[in-house]
Symmetry: C3
Subunit: 366 residues, 3 copies
């Protein structure tokens, strides 16, 4: 990390600072582990007490902290710790920035249009008629197939894969191994399949012997459309739609190893955590937050501002604003009650047996 002054950091955070603002730090650290070269991160009140255990001269502290009592020479004051972390880490992760360059080993089709100030890393392959906006940074081993369109200020890390028929807005960030625009998983049997029958009868009807049938592929003509400011984590997959496009709304952030299946529509500013799977043709509103390993069934509709706790399996529609949990996902508060009751169920069963016997004995002796 390059050295920065307390003054520079305070300005980057638009935060008030006091003391010797010319103090320079070379790193950031938790208070107890900070050296004299570190800016101590004591944004939460419980960390202020441990500032004297380290050697930091300067710290970021909550508004109202008595920084001189904590032994500091300078302090920066913040209100909302996680928000300050966004500013701080953004400021410190700005690299001096290599000059943009197209590596000579990159293979770029002559009909592709690469904006000004773009970098393309070694061994990347960019197909015919691809458009990439200015200031974009394409890592090594990236492939972008014929006709894909990507907005300005994109970052595509090494090994990201962008398919044909994909349109992406500005400031897109794709981590390594991302696959956008792969075929949807959509197959059909000539006659109704075992899965169709089970779904219809909820598993009640197994009388008929299903015939072994081949699966015919429903191809994906629809592509993917992604709004501005979207980030997609490592090895996540967004599949192409069948007729219309699979869509990801502006500002939505997607973690690692997530699947968004064909025809899905995800609204704006959603968060999809690790291993989330959204099955075909499901629709998510805006500001939806799905915790890790959440599953959403096909053709499900989820309203705005829904929050699903980690591991929830959403098998029916969820109205706007609801917080859900469980498998199948139900209202969070109800689910917590139910599973607490479940843990007491073996005991209830014993108590019930006893009561039943006692009532029946009583009757016998009456």
């Amino acid at each position: 990390m390059t050295a920065h002054s307390v003054k520079d950091m305070a300005q980057a955070l638009s935060a008030h600072a006091e003391g010797d603002l010319s103090i320079v730090f070379k790193g950031v650290a938790e208070p107890a582990e900070a050296s004299t070269d570190d800016l101590a991160l004591a944004m939460a009140a419980e960390f202020v007490a441990s500032i004297p255990d380290g050697a930091a001269l300067a710290a970021i502290v909550p508004v109202g902290t008595d920084w001189q009592a904590a032994g500091l020479k300078a302090a920066i004051f913040v209100d909302r710790p996680r928000l300050a972390m966004a500013g701080l880490t953004g400021f410190l992760s700005q690299s001096a920035g290599a000059r943009p360059s197209i590596h000579p080993s990159a293979i770029i089709d002559p009909t592709a249009s690469i904006g000004a100030n773009c970098s393309v890393g070694p061994y990347s392959v960019i197909g015919a008629r691809v458009q990439i906006g200015e200031n974009s940074v394409i890592g090594s081993h990236v492939s972008i197939e014929d006709g894909a369109v990507i907005g300005a200020d994109a970052v595509l890390q090494s090994g990201a894969r962008i398919g044909r028929n994909v349109q992406i807005g500005a400031r897109f960030f794709a981590h390594s191994g991302v696959v956008i625009g792969s075929d949807g998983f959509s197959f059909v049997t000539p006659e109704p399949s075992v899965a169709e029958k089970a779904r219809k009868s909820l598993g009640k009807d197994s009388s008929e012997t299903p015939v072994d049938q081949d699966w015919l592929k429903i191809h994906s003509l629809g592509g993917v459309i992604i709004g501005n400011n979207v980030e997609v984590g490592a090895n996540s997959c967004i599949d192409a739609g069948t007729v219309r496009a699979t869509r990801i709304g502006e500002g939505t952030k997607i973690d690692d190893l997530v699947q968004v299946a064909h025809n899905v529509v995800v609204g704006t500013n959603c968060l999809l955590c690790g291993h989330v799977g959204i099955a075909g043709s499901a629709q998510l509103g805006n500001n939806v937050v799905l915790g890790g390993q959440v599953g959403v069934g096909d053709n499900i509709t989820i309203g705005d501002q829904v929050v699903a706790g980690g591991g929830s399996k959403i098998l029916s529609n969820v109205p706007k604003g609801r917080a859900v949990l469980g498998y199948p996902a139900t209202k969070m508060a109800g689910y917590i009650q139910s599973y607490k009751a479940l843990r007491r169920l073996p005991r209830l069963m014993r108590d019930f047996d006893a009561l039943q016997k006692s009532v029946s004995n009583k009757r016998d002796t009456d």
Copy 2:
């Protein structure tokens, strides 16, 4: 999309058509959004009503539809909508087809055998003694390790990884990021491990203090054998077997981000949806359908035509033809009953307490 006539499409679907079959369309669309250049997709009865909301001249409609009343100039009649979608999307996704070519940057071992009319994309690497059947299309950045065998008409999209000791039938389709033939996850400790003990005692015995032991790797000698007509989705992994091969039967389709572990045997014409995980040495019959995020425990046997709903965790054997759901997975109908009951459990507990009190009060007052 290139332009097609209604007549051509009807022929491709082997479907009856009426009206002006020379009408040409350049795209397909849902009825309400169709322009005069689109073929409207109104295969399901509920879509026929909205044909007049759009501008389509021609549509695909259910058998028996009064197409003239819907304002159409021509109509194609189909019976089973999803089946028609397979034919339609297959017909429209046929590309004019670039001429097959081996990119000069592809590194192909001189002992490899590449069939006639194959394409190999830029920066792909094909090892010693590899065999690839005719008409196959290998994308960019693909690696195929020494000795792997792949049948005719294969498609390997960019960044697919095929390991040593892998044999694959005809018409294989691997999406980007697929890894076939990686080592199985198989380790052993010199003395019985914490996991072995917990499994044996079902967690009841924690008296003994386990010793910290190193895990020794059981290497994978067995490879992978895959039948004809198999498709594997983006970033999915099929691990090599230990002594015998991991096997995927003919016609099986695998979605994105699926893991098939070492020694697993998957039958013919199965569907494994996104994030499915099948642990070591499990066996699946034919025509098995596993919904998204289903897990199958190691050494489990699953019969033919079993259907498991999304999120099911299969921890014990499942007989042929059964539909299951839940964690642990049980008969679908029983599971639905149980979880409905679970939601009423907190209330039952209150009612039980009341009844218990009332019985005991009654006794006191008798």
Copy 3:
């Protein structure tokens, strides 16, 4: 496989052998399928009986087996079958070993330091100041970003991605598609978000209308630190920490498609099976075993020697030595009792209704 003598194999396993130790085998097989060229694997007693069904001259058998009665010419005796498998597969998977070489198409920054006897495959890209220890084998299409440090005897298979700010010990094994050091999934809204509110109120409070807010990224400055003897399966992701590093302890083994999120600390000799997801800032002790598709919530602490059954979702801290199962994960034995009771719950409800009616009828008739 090259040919080996029974004597060589016995020595490799440090095992006692009897009979004609000069017998040579070219493969290994299950007893019933073994040819005269195979060493039969009959380590478990139940396999000894089927030795005569095959044609093997030699076999690995449990200590105490009457090998001559089984029709063998030679036998190797072992105690713990899986442990013998580790030795056997390790011995047989030793390849003659191509001579180490740096492929001319590999792009290695002049400031990188590559140890003696390393191989680097075609089209791999190694950045500035990278250090790789001796005897390492880097496959094709691998990328290692500026400043990463990897110990001796590493294996990085094709398409593995190592980010900046990553330090890895000796004997690291990364399968294809692994992504180490990608950004953590950490975002914040200017005002409290729907997720923060739902978490605080456990979903009880949905009165306030949340405002649509943008997510600001908290960048990852902390990198990843990995101990010696760690293996990471295909397409798994270990994300960089925010301020301090994400850490994986010595001897830990990670399966395919696993996510270890930012700031997580995993102890020594843990096993993380396929699709495991560990959310931000969780801490795992030593010798922890997490079955397939297990999820661990953010900021959770898990003690040493904890074992979690497949599919468990761990939403609260787990003390040392406990075996857990379920969603939410609870003590394994208790969970099994609870779900057995759950299956009988619909019946209990009917019985309860009957009892309630009978008590109330009785009262009416008293």
